[in-house]
Symmetry: C2
Subunit: 390 residues, 2 copies
């Protein structure tokens, strides 16, 4: 599963580095070192983690874990990759460390709980920093005392607010989490000490950051990670999955979409005027589906598309209603006496997911996607970083 | 007043760089750039701010502002100095920016209030990061929109927990605050966007970090900054000021010390066995005073001194009692029918403070202190950094 996330993450990073504004920011990060970056430079492990975490989250198209309430790969993979790249570690070791880090970030996310998220923390960044610490610490072979200090240092560095959403600060939060993990580990390895129980202890991260301290039994959770297959707000994805199999959608006179109440305030712009607004519109993505425009392709979300008279006309047929019985991952489309349901929490089989991630990677980065997947299949980390980071 | 804080900060940094363990940590920070560091290296502005903030707080002997509940200079001066050093700005401009930054950090500290501190945040680091942002932004001439984004970026990066106290994570928190200020400003200048009201706005730093949002009228506050003149816990300082004028203290049969209740759980180790424990012992510092051992000299706080039989015997004469009527800055010493009071909140005159800071700087770094003060008097920033950072 971590191999799929690696393909998905790499494609998002390659596509994300062209996002407006980030090139000038990358140019301010001038350290020199052995770790590759999406912008083609090489720098210290910490700075590479910062750059790669940020750029790979720039499109907000990377994987999501609903229990974690966050995006595990953008915090954890950049940390693991920077360390593995600099140390010459084999790709399977990097993936093993990234998986443990991702599992840790989901577990910390569950432990902090929904209160932590609701009060305003960006779980991708806060829980993600702990995951990045675990991944980096495993690759650098910290002993248990050093690992304890590294987690303590992470607890005093981890940060990230949801109020950054909609700004460049959102992807930055992911990059900061990745950097925090690498720095906490390198600094603990250098002998820096910290509190012994920085996460759970008295005045620790949980207590200070509105953590619920929920009971979190040990199980593997990354099998449930969810890949985004549509280049728009995640609140629209269940609806898009429900719409996909509907033949003759374009001919429907009236389309009712039922969704969790939360999404009505998040992504229900009735008449979007820009490509960005189109990413937050039930009506528009339903119209795109009806007209056969691929919602997986980020380049289709243009201002022009948002204003196309035929789509704007058709989307008037759509009504969106909240159903408090629904979970956030469920949606239902009703046309006449037919209903079509989808639930993102019920994962597709691994083969189907692999097929869809492959399609998505090709849509994002073209033929290079196949070379990247071949390098991953060959366990060839130098080839992978060369393909992805240049 | 900022000139006094600069002397004090420089002396703490020069003395602090020898603190155990930090040399290996500094060696992990390998960027190259124009900004001087206490460890003799030169690096990027951000990394210099990180190193210098951390090393100058290593001894915990730098200045304190009781309203801010933190140490303003260790977060703000390293940021201002790194930028000024790299840009070739004159020393008065650096001091002007540092003063505005320090005022901002005290104001933010007051606005966040005591709840923020009590729940577990290290105000030196959290409020300090905003101060460091203001100082760096002034030196780099950000326009108002950029400054707004810089403060927004600071709001998603600022961190620091009190649970680090007693570990190397405490000074690190100060260094991180300084780095956050520099990075937030450089990144906003590069075009990075952030939330428009990251500190006070919805889901902003205040709301998420238990900020009280107290009413904070604009007045200048750094005139009330308090310099440490004893190389031990700040909770012992009022008591030491009260003890100072007592002639024949050594002959007293019984010495009662009255203090704010908080200090009984912080610095009342009855029989310290190590130099570190001695820094948290009313009885021991009273005994040092009685025996003429200068509590301003950090080198006097040794394991040997803590265990000296004559001092250990004498300190049995001391009783410490809590008086809930006292503020945290007040103490009273009672011997027979005589009582001697002190209150750190009533500042000494500027001349007296200058004299004591000078004495302290000489005690910490010897004759170099006079050269440093001369460079500050001459407004000679290159000379100052050369003297302090090599």
């Amino acid at each position: 599963m971590m191999r799929l996330s690696l393909i998905d993450w790499a494609a998002c990073g390659i596509a994300g580095r062209a996002e407006g504004g980030f090139a000038d920011w990358c140019a301010t990060l001038t350290s020199l070192g052995p770790a590759s970056r999406f912008d083609g430079r090489r720098s210290t492990m910490a700075e590479a983690a910062l750059v790669n975490g940020t750029l790979s989250h720039a499109l907000d198209y990377d994987d999501t874990h609903f229990a974690h309430i966050g995006h595990p790969s953008v915090a954890v993979i950049p940390a693991a990759l920077a360390v593995a790249d600099a140390q010459g570690a084999p790709l399977p070791e990097m993936l093993d460390a990234a998986l443990l880090g991702a599992e840790a970030s989901v577990a910390v996310g569950l432990w902090l709980g929904r209160d932590h998220y609701q009060i305003g923390y960006h779980q991708t960044a806060t829980s993600g920093a702990f995951g990045a610490t675990v991944a980096s610490g495993r690759l650098l072979d910290l002993d248990p005392v050093q690992m304890c200090h590294a987690l303590g240092l992470c607890s005093t560095m981890a940060s990230g607010l949801k109020s950054q959403f909609g700004t460049m600060g959102k992807p930055l939060n992911a990059g900061l989490a990745a950097r925090t993990g690498v720095e906490a580990v390198l600094w603990a390895q250098s002998g820096m000490t910290s509190s012994e129980d920085g996460l759970e202890g008295t005045l620790g991260f949980g207590e200070t950051h509105h953590g619920a301290g929920a009971d979190v039994p040990f199980v593997w959770r990354m099998g449930d990670v969810s890949h985004k297959f549509h280049a728009c707000c995640h609140g629209l994805h269940a609806c898009l999955e429900a719409l996909a199999p509907i033949v003759d959608l374009r001919d429907a006179d009236a389309v009712e979409i039922r969704t969790h109440p939360r999404w009505l305030s998040v992504c229900n712009i009735a008449d979007p005027a820009t490509g960005l607004e189109a990413k937050f519109s039930f009506g528009h993505v339903a119209a795109m589906t009806a007209f056969g425009i691929p919602t997986a392709d980020i380049n289709e979300f243009t201002d022009h598309c948002a204003r196309r008279p035929d789509l704007a006309g058709w989307r008037q047929r759509v009504t969106v209603t909240a159903d408090p019985e629904f979970s956030e991952t469920q949606a239902c489309v009703i046309i006449g006496d037919q209903s079509y349901s989808a639930d993102l929490a019920i994962p597709e089989g691994i083969d189907k997911r692999a097929e869809r991630v492959t399609e998505k990677a090709r849509a994002l980065v073209g033929a290079r996607a196949d070379d990247v997947m071949q390098a991953i299949d060959d366990d060839d980390l130098p080839r992978f970083t060369q393909l992805v980071m240049s």
